[in-house]
């Protein structure tokens, strides 16, 4: 079985950060990079399935600049067989639908039996990439999967609904699932595996290699970030001075006013 796991190197914000002035974005000095938490669980799901089915291959793919290679190496250290990083400067700040378009071209070349994404990324929090990728690939898909068993070419999955409800589905592969945190306990790589991961195959792929160009990506996008600014704070506050009695009286008046 060949399983493709699209992953994302996400930005982690420092407690204090500045928004860039010349373009929408955050000052990179205030950013740290790490593998998206959800992707730890989708990778673990893939590794467990691959271990259960002999002769399997797990391929991790990301769309990202060079800093994304740390995340790919950590996936390789945990047991992924090879990795692919897709990048072009035109991909800076593109939206999830555009990312899905790029991933679709890469996944298509892999003829995967199963594509496992995270439910969402912790920095963008759109929950869109996985589902859009399924649409591009024309694959059956289930979102927010919290349980998965595989047998006889099909997967039985538990889909998490609101209010604690669970929907059980049996899906014929190939298919795409977005995996929820908590579905398993992700493994960690020991030092030997981390060292060995440095020797594993990590291909850097351009848009041209995938038969795409910037225009094709742009036409898949649904949005562009136009500007970014911290929300106004402090507005709407009225500081009350005076004795405790006076302050309490004023609070009571305000509450009465607001409650009509």
């Amino acid at each position: 079985m060949k399983i493709v796991v699209p992953v994302k190197q996400v930005a982690v914000l420092d407690e204090e950060f500045d928004v860039l002035e010349d373009r929408p974005g955050v000052d990179p000095d205030a950013l740290d990079w790490e593998l998206n938490e959800w992707d730890e669980f989708s990778l673990e799901t893939a590794l467990q399935l691959a271990e259960a089915e002999g002769g399997s291959e797990v391929v991790v793919i990301t769309v990202g600049a060079e800093e994304a290679e740390d995340g790919l190496r950590s996936c390789l250290a945990k047991g992924a067989d090879r990795a692919q990083r897709i990048w072009d400067d035109s991909l800076e700040d593109v939206d999830p639908l555009a990312v899905a378009r790029v991933l679709a071209a890469a996944v298509e070349r892999e003829s995967a039996d199963l594509v496992l994404c995270g439910v969402q990324s912790s920095d963008g929090v759109h929950s869109a990439t996985g589902i859009a990728l399924a649409a591009h690939l024309d694959l059956p898909r289930v979102a927010v999967v919290k349980g998965l068993e595989y047998s006889g070419g099909a997967a039985t999955v538990e889909r998490e609904l609101e209010g604690g409800l669970v929907e059980n589905l049996r899906v014929q592969l190939p298919a795409l699932f977005t995996i929820q945190t908590g579905i398993n306990e992700p493994r960690y790589a020991n030092l030997r595996a981390i060292k060995q991961a440095k020797e594993k195959q990590l291909d850097v792929v351009s848009l041209g290699d995938l038969g795409l160009d910037a225009q094709a990506v742009d036409s898949a996008a649904s949005s562009r970030v136009r500007s970014m600014a911290p929300p106004d704070t402090g507005g709407g506050a009225e500081m009350l001075d005076g004795s405790a009695e006076a302050v309490a009286g004023r609070i009571a008046e305000i509450v009465k006013e607001r409650m009509g």
Binding site: Y188, N190, L191, R192, I194, K195
Partner: protein, 735 residues
């Protein structure tokens, strides 16, 4: 990062007579075991705090004359010019960091047993010490009073010569000036006894004479217990407490306020299990709040939180934040606030291990949180600076994230090892601290004199600080829920393996009293428990419980306290002459005894078990074994001793060729896994190994500088030349 403006007030200067304190951070006098005879220890320990931003730092109590000799405990001494020479080293070092140096001139009266000098201490009346054995002072006549006052003056002049900026006339903790003031000690009928003015006369005259002698050059401070907590028989805040401050206010430049006396000075250096942060406020806070002084006031109360500090100043409680223990736990506390990183503050946990070593008399001070405390000079350790290890390219696996493992991994991370993996079987780091920090509560409803049985919750700060640091270290990965086997470790890929797997309580009654197990002891039975099982709630506990405590520290009594607080009928049995002996040294004992008595715990000392059966424990008196007793109980808790979890270490070390073939260069063992000890000792062990991970043989501690007298012609270099090559701590600049 810049400091938060809300803390600006803490960095405002304040005038102390002729001297300017550069900020509001003040290390009040506290013991460390250095005195005048370990000048390197004294200067480097205080010096590191000056480097960390404290505006002023004081000696411990400093004896003014051989007839005030506290041996076996270590005080400073300023008896002669050679003491001046040694104490000047501290002054120079503090001045090089732009901090003030204070000296606490001390005359102990009956509380100075004079075991080294063999002099006879003098006192206001012939009242023996209430805690020393058979120590009676000699009654002071009018000539004696003048003589002793001259001792203060002579000592003050020597202190000025040494370079001290602040000179104390120390009375708090019931030393001589306060003995005159307090009717508990002063039964005189002359002009130095009786009325308030008469009782205050000695102290007032001392202040006048010391001020006259050095007041133009030095700030004059007085440390005063505003309430000795004895009720009307001594100093009470509402009576002589405020009266004395008002009476001599014009003679001091700084008030250093405390509560309690020396016999139970845990009321001042309050352990966290009974006292919360800023616990002295109801007493010491009244002096400024009631407008009884025009002089700056410094006070203490294990204050570690910068927001509490700001509130204390803004509310008019104190002008200056005093600290002893918080400054030991984090010598860089002011600098961390100034640099806008208060989350890096290593908060004191209030365990009073620092005090315990001084109380024992002789050992240097230690600190649970700060393994470098007391090691600044003799080992060249700095609390915040860590040089890159010579073997930093090696990968390290630390197995076990308890006190030793956390500390070791953190220090290895700060020494920039290429990769450190800290792996633990549990779901969180902390090891034994996670359950130990849940101990010590009783029902909490009734006050104990002044405090409450708050429990050991603040001990969790051991974990919190290290968690924050480990999170920040990019080269340290923490992996939880992972129990490693020998094979896992062999295949891990680490060149250095450190085993920190802790210890467990004996399950079979193995104990230090008989060096043997106890017949019938077996905690695999559902009615016999180890202490951790009590906390974790894994077994049902009957109404009648016997706790066997053979360790002599907090475990047995804390279990008894917990179960009695839950309404159980608890019998506490120990082979020793008292329960929890060591808690005398940590100053927790008086409050603990109050709580055990309040809870109705039945205590049997000099008693040991030799057989445990369902429903009954068979006991004997250790001095007369034929004297036997039976305790009918439902449940037995065995706090007998701990046993190292050292199997992994020995399995790994058994096949050295296999280690080599797997690329493992060294396997070390630290903390309880090596030998179960107290938590500060485990943390030290982990810290020590990491500090010396690139030494020739890291398994063996490097020698440390010993400040003993060297016979013959010697130079400072003969003692501490090695420090020149110590990268972390600035070497001494000796004039």
């Amino acid at each position: 990062m810049a400091r938060d403006p809300k803390y600006d007030i803490l960095f405002e200067p304040i005038q102390l007579g002729p001297k300017t304190l550069k900020n509001r951070f003040y290390q009040v006098p506290h013991c460390i075991g250095a005195g005048s005879e370990k000048p390197g220890f004294q200067a480097y320990h205080r010096g590191v705090k000056a480097e960390g931003g404290w505006g002023a730092l004081c000696t411990e109590y400093c004896s003014i004359h051989p007839e005030s000799d506290d041996t076996m405990r270590v005080s400073a001494r300023i008896w002669d010019d050679d003491d001046v020479r040694n104490l000047a080293v501290m002054c120079d070092r503090l001045h090089s960091f732009d901090a003030l140096a204070g000296i606490e001139l001390w005359y102990g009266g009956p509380h100075a047993p004079c075991m080294e000098s063999r002099h006879v201490p003098r006192g206001p009346s012939q009242i023996p010490s209430d805690f020393e054995v058979n120590t009676h002072p000699r009654y002071m006549d009018a000539d004696d009073i003048k003589l002793v006052q001259q001792m203060y003056v002579d000592a003050a002049i020597r202190a000025r010569e040494a370079g001290f900026d602040i000179v104390y006339v120390y009375g708090a903790h019931s030393y001589l000036p306060l003995q005159f003031l307090s009717p508990f000690y002063n039964k005189r009928t002359d002009e130095y006894g009786g009325s308030f003015e008469n009782r205050a006369r000695f102290w007032k005259e001392c202040l006048e004479q010391v001020r006259e002698a050095v007041g133009d050059d030095c700030a004059i401070a007085s440390r005063f217990a505003v309430d000795t907590l004895y009720g009307p028989s001594s100093i009470e805040i509402g009576e002589d407490g405020v009266r004395f401050v008002e009476y001599v206010d014009d003679l001091v430049d700084l008030w250093d306020l405390t509560v309690g006396d020396i016999a139970e000075w845990g009321q001042n250096a309050g352990p966290s299990r009974f006292f919360e942060e800023n616990h002295e406020k109801p007493f010491t806070g009244q002096i400024k709040a009631g407008d009884h002084t025009n002089k700056p006031v410094v006070g203490v109360g294990r204050i570690t939180n910068p927001d509490t500090m700001v509130a204390i100043i803004n509310s008019g409680q104190f002008d200056i934040i005093g600290a002893a223990r918080p400054s030991i736990s984090d010598p860089f506390l002011p600098k961390k606030i100034e640099e806008g990183r208060p989350d890096d503050i290593r908060e004191c946990i209030g365990c009073n291990q620092c005090i315990s070593r001084w109380e024992i008399g002789g050992p240097p001070m230690i600190c649970t949180q700060n393994a470098t405390a007391g090691e600044e000079y003799r080992r060249g350790w700095h609390p915040e600076k860590f040089h890159t290890a010579a073997n930093a390219d090696r990968g390290v696996l630390v197995v076990g994230a308890g006190p030793a493992g956390m500390e070791c991994a953190m220090v290895l991370g700060k020494r920039e090892m290429s990769a450190v993996h800290l792996v633990d079987a549990d779901k969180e780091i902390g090891g034994c601290v996670n359950w130990i920090s849940q101990l010590g509560h009783s029902d909490g409803k009734e006050n104990l004199a002044r405090g409450t049985a708050r429990g050991l919750g603040e001990w969790k700060r051991i974990v919190n600080y290290r968690q924050i640091q480990l999170d920040k270290l990019k080269n340290v990965d923490v992996h939880l829920n992972s129990r490693l086997s020998k094979q896992d470790i062999l295949e891990y890929g680490a060149e250095i393996v450190i085993i920190a797997t802790g210890s467990h309580f004996a399950t079979d009654g193995l104990n230090p009293a008989t060096h043997d197990t106890i017949e019938g002891a077996d905690t695999s039975l559902d009615w016999q428990l180890t202490p951790d099982e009590v906390v974790k709630g894994t077994k049902e506990i009957g109404n009648r419980v016997l706790v066997l405590e053979n360790e002599g520290y907090y475990m047995g009594v804390s279990i008894a306290q917990k179960l009695a607080g839950e309404g159980k009928d608890v019998t506490l049995v120990t082979q020793m002459g008292d329960v929890a002996n060591y808690m005398e040294y940590t100053l927790e004992a008086p409050m603990l005894h109050r709580d055990l008595h309040r809870l109705g715990v039945h205590i049997h000392t000099y008693t040991m078990l030799d057989k445990i059966e369902p429903g009954v424990c068979h006991a004997y008196n250790v001095w007369k074994p034929a004297h036997r007793e039976q305790f009918e109980v439902d449940t037995v808790v065995l706090c007998t001793q701990r046993v190292s979890n050292d199997e992994l270490y020995h399995e790994l070390r058994s096949d050295k060729e296999l280690l080599t073939s797997e690329g493992i260069e060294a396997v070390y063992m630290i903390g309880d896994a090596a030998a179960p000890r107290m938590i500060p000792d485990s943390i030290f062990d982990g810290h020590r190994l990491a500090r010396e991970i690139d030494s020739e043989n890291p398994a063996m501690p490097l020698p440390f500088i010993r400040e003993r007298r060297l016979w013959g012609d010697v130079t400072n270099n003969d003692y501490d030349g090695v420090l020149v090559n110590t990268p972390d701590i600035a070497p001494m600049v000796v004039k």
